[in-house]
């Protein structure tokens, strides 16, 4: 238990960080925001899953993926396919020429449910697919690239290409995927109306709980020897290889973890926002997700959550006020953060805020010294 407290929670300081974020997510936001705004925060928090995954694979593993939207989207689509089938009962779709299939299929002259939609009639299978499909893609992609020792930059470019390919594929296969509109009009999950205020509140809390589960799992990984090896690989990959480790396997693993985190976020997005579309799969959203992690601090799992929240608040404010300028602003923000604060908000906290807090605490006459370098992830 004490090892768990020390390594996974991160002792006192790690616990404090978790509690502050938990208070914010589970108490402050629900208390001060109406359901509409809270739902918006819930949506931002689904991006935080991706950012937390990027901290693992980019920050610690040194693997920059510019295609996390792919995994976010796959998770979201798996969930959306289940919800769409539930919404497409023969009664509800009686006016279609083929009742019982999703409306967009009918519009596209598809007359029978495609085979790959069949498993999504079952919730357990759909949930399984939400995790397994992205994990499998990450496994295949990662194994193909890392076993061949494809360099970081080329890897980033390939993930970018995959994001483009998947979004083009989804848009092109309108009859099977809903095309550019995505999968919309999602209503119920096992008969439970996900659009009601009560449901939104419940989903918000489920989302928050899952996010904390991912953060704790991430901390567990980073505290293990595997976490140390990730740092070692980032420092001196050859040395790790010549210490008897198959470096590629570790990279594939952490890439899969990041993919699964992203997929969980995607599925929660679909549930909370009520649709999924290719606009969350392509290049721009994938890069946005990297920016969340960079702004929050790519070495901080908690920082990534703040990054996702702050950038998205900024986005909804600025894109309402100056819609044309937003993309430039975001690009500028990314460059500024990386140049001036390579460890993002978490780095600012660590370098400027924490020493002051420590001094203030010492000033109170407490004999305790500032916590040594043990940075809680």
């Amino acid at each position: 238990m004490s090892a768990f407290y020390k390594n996974v929670i991160g002792a006192r300081e790690g616990l404090a960080g978790l509690l502050v974020l938990a208070a914010l997510v589970f108490v402050v936001f629900p208390l001060f925001l109406d359901v509409f705004r809270l739902n918006l925060v819930g949506k931002y928090l689904t991006y935080a899953f991706v950012a937390v995954g990027l901290v693992m694979c980019w920050g610690y593993g040194g693997i920059l993926s510019l295609g996390q939207g792919v995994f976010f989207g796959l998770g979201g689509y798996c969930m959306a396919m289940f919800l769409k089938l539930e919404a497409s009962t023969p009664e509800a779709t009686a006016i279609q020429s083929t009742p019982g299939i999703p409306d967009f299929m009918d519009w596209n002259q598809v007359t029978a449910l495609p085979w790959f939609w069949e498993p999504f009639r079952s919730l357990p299978l759909a949930l399984l697919a939400t995790v397994l499909v992205p994990a499998l893609l990450a496994l295949v992609l990662g194994a193909a690239m890392f076993k061949r020792r494809v360099g970081e930059v080329y890897f980033a470019i390939v993930t970018q290409a995959v994001a483009l390919i998947l979004s083009v594929l989804i848009i092109g296969q309108q009859g099977y995927t809903g095309g550019v509109n995505g999968i919309t009009d999602l209503k119920t999950m096992l008969g439970w109306d996900i659009r009601s205020d009560g449901a939104r509140l419940v989903l918000y809390y489920v989302n928050g709980a899952l996010l904390f589960a991912c953060i704790l799992f991430g901390r567990f990984l980073l505290a293990s020897k595997l976490g140390k090896l990730l740092i070692a690989m980032r420092d001196k990959e050859e040395r790790v290889r010549f210490s008897g480790y198959d470096v590629a396997n570790f990279k594939v693993f952490v890439f899969c973890v990041a993919a699964v985190f992203a997929a969980i976020g995607g599925a929660m997005f679909t549930l909370q926002v009520g649709f999924m579309s290719p606009s969350f799969v392509g290049i721009v959203p994938s890069i946005e997700m990297v920016i969340f992690a960079a702004v929050g601090g790519r070495l901080s799992l908690l920082g990534a959550v703040y990054g996702a929240l702050i950038v998205n608040f900024g986005k909804s404010y600025f894109s309402e006020t100056f819609p044309e300028l937003w993309l430039f602003l975001m690009g500028g923000l990314f460059i500024a953060v990386v140049m001036a604060f390579p460890n993002g908000l978490a780095g600012i906290y660590k370098d400027y805020v924490r020493p002051r807090l420590a001094r203030a605490a010492a000033g109170k006459g407490k004999a305790k010294r500032a916590a040594p370098a043990g940075e809680p992830a």
Binding site: K228, D235, R239, F242
Partner: protein, 253 residues
Amino acid sequence: MKVAPEVKVQEFALYVEGLTVSFNGFVAVDGLNLYVNKGETRVVIGPNGAGKTTVLDLICGRTKATAGSIRFNDVELTRMSEHEIVRAGVGRKFQTPSIYETLSVRENLEVSFPRGRTVFGALAFRITPDVVERVEQVAGEIFLADMLDQPAELLSHGQKQWLEIGMLLMQSPELMMLDEPVAGMSVSEREKTAELLNRIGRDRSMIVIEHDMEFVKHIAHKVTVLHQGKVLAEGSMDHVQNDPRVIEVYLGH
């Protein structure tokens, strides 16, 4: 090519025959034969570009041989991947100290402990008392017992060299290959390193690349001189030093 009798395969720890590698037509190592006994410390010398580092790269699998055979304890290494070669008992130190700067000295050694080498093995790995004991023992050997909890980036250049040797020692390799271990070291550090290598060389075979002839004298059982990818001379330090060809291509400068 001459076939060595069976007995010899038993005697030698490392058995390199006809080893050749060419990069786009440039033959860096040319039909090299090298036999290292169990427990022997072999020093490889030679002018720049003689192929010394390439030979180590070939043995540890970093470079793939064009032709020839490398047998270690009767296992053919040429077709194995790097981590398999390490697990077979071959350790390699790089020319510039190659350590994990952001980890502490202790963590550098712990990560090198040869248990939990697979993904799930690493997840399940716990730092048990035997790991702690081994880390402290190795830290003592490499003169870093007092610096275990320092970040490795704060070590001096010489200490970083020792740490990397320590990281190899953690794995108790049967064959240890060191590429210029005393480069950039002070005189007193060189002496300590010679003492260290003599100590750890008792239990294993070693191949050391070095330019510092004083240092070579202190550690070498046998010296091999490489020139243009071939063995120019081989034997005791005295024998090699008095070889006119060696003086001409290397020592004379």
